[in-house]
Amino acid sequence: LSANAAIKSDQEKNAAGVPPFEVRIEKLRGAAEQELAHLVVGGVSKEIGEQIDALLVSLKQQTLQLDALSNKFEELSTSVGQYAILESEKTYAHKAYQFLFDGLFTPLSAAMFSLLSVYIAAAAFRAFRIRSFEASLMMVTAVIVMLGQTSFGTAIYEGMPAIRQWLMEVPNSAAFRAIRIGAAIAGLVMAVRVWLSIGSEEVK
């Protein structure tokens, strides 16, 4: 009803020189399309495009500046580290520490450990005798393991490191795992005994 009334009103106005509703709509559409074409093809879109381009250029410049800044930061952090090392090396405390560490602590500690080599050699010569099957087995295994990790072993037999590897991976791992599991179970048992005070009567 309201649409009819509007048409009637238009018709009445038309009589007074106002163009009909459809014509006005058509004109409005044409104007809107022109405006739209202006927006899309030229005018504003071009301005926006230019602005975006400028923004991109600026962003690129800023990225380059940031990269340069990051490089500078990296150089600075490296210099700070190097400076810290140099400064710490200059102090008397550091020099005294170096002297005592290099001149006393290191040689004495190393000498203590090095004694093992001569004692092991002397002990092996005196005590490592083939007296039983078990002792023979142990000696053969020890010799294979030692030869397998030295240059001489490879010179004697190419496959010596592989035999050593097998000895370490299979019998050795099995034995060591058994020792570890046994020790863990024994520790658990002892903890439970202490916890429940089992055997404390006998001690008393």
Binding site: G81, I85, F113, A121, T150, S151, R164, S173
Partner: protein, 282 residues
């Protein structure tokens, strides 16, 4: 035989190759090859770091320092950043000296390249309370905030190799070198529910049998077995970088090999004497 002669034999056998700089090709070590392969396949990316625990003292220097040297050299050649630390207070000097020594050697080999503190490695110094330290590191959402500073007091946030390092997941590999059984703490505590960094273990020859159980179970991905492991790793580096000079690992391993050969010869000689004396008594 007078034991003084045995001592002289051993001293001569060990010191002669060192004085004459005589080297022999080391025996092949499969576990060292596995370690080499792990580092060779490690990606060198920003935001990932390798953690190196140098739990070594002067007493085990001869065996463990060559292990650290070859691994650090490999990491430096591959430009993989790493952080060194120690659970032992007496390791401080090794933490300071070894990376610098390797960097100097590499720069002498190729003067066009540069390796610098802060850019290629960081020294985190002595870290007390092993288990608590590892637990804190594993649970931390910001490792830089947890560790705070390097051994010289420089804030880690100012050190470039820590850029992007946030959690345990950003630790791409852990290397632990020690003369004792401290590896257990690393295996037990350095892990989260969703991530456990691969661990390479370097040990003295005396702890090799124990270390093998962790290698066999997959809890460690590589093992350097005493000096022999370091020597074979050094040989692998020589294959890859032919310009590389002979290092201490090869030299000391040769001396050790000759020393062991003398021990074997003495055992054999001792048994011959024992057999002859038994025969005489019979």
């Amino acid at each position: 035989m007078n034991r003084r002669f045995i001592y002289i034999f051993v001293i001569l056998a060990v010191s002669a190759p060192l004085l004459l700089k005589f080297t022999m090709k080391p025996a092949r070590m499969v576990s060292a090859e596995r370690s080499f392969k792990v580092i060779e396949e490690l990606p060198a990316v920003q935001g990932k770091i390798v953690l190196i625990g140098m739990d070594i003292g002067p007493s085990v220097k001869a065996e463990t320092v060559p292990q650290v040297e070859v691994i650090l050299e490999h990491l430096m050649r591959r430009r993989i950043p790493f952080a060194v630390f120690s659970l032992l207070v007496e390791s401080k000097k090794f933490l300071d000296d070894i990376p610098q020594r390797i960097a100097k050697r590499l720069m002498a080999e190729d003067p066009s390249q540069k390796w610098q503190y802060g850019k290629d490695w960081v020294n985190l110094g002595y870290q007390p309370f092993a288990n608590l330290f590892f637990e804190g590191l594993s649970k931390s959402d910001d490792i830089v905030a947890f560790l705070k500073k390097d051994t010289f007091g420089t804030s880690l946030s100012n050190i470039s190799i820590f850029q992007g390092v946030k959690k345990l997941n950003d630790i791409s590999l852990v290397l632990e070198v020690s003369g004792s059984a401290v590896i257990g703490s690393y295996i037990q505590f350095l892990q989260k529910t969703d991530y456990r960094p691969p661990i390479i273990h370097g040990c003295t020859a005396i702890t090799v049998p124990e270390a093998y159980i962790y290698l066999d179970s997959g809890q460690i991905v590589g093992l350097l077995e005493g000096l022999s492991g370091a020597a074979w790793y050094s040989e692998l580096l020589r294959y890859k970088f032919p310009q590389r000079a002979v290092d201490t690992a090869l030299l000391t391993n040769t001396a050790l090999g000759i020393g062991q050969f003398v021990v074997m010869a003495l055992i054999l000689f001792g048994n011959i004497l024992h057999f002859l004396s038994r025969k005489r008594l019979a």
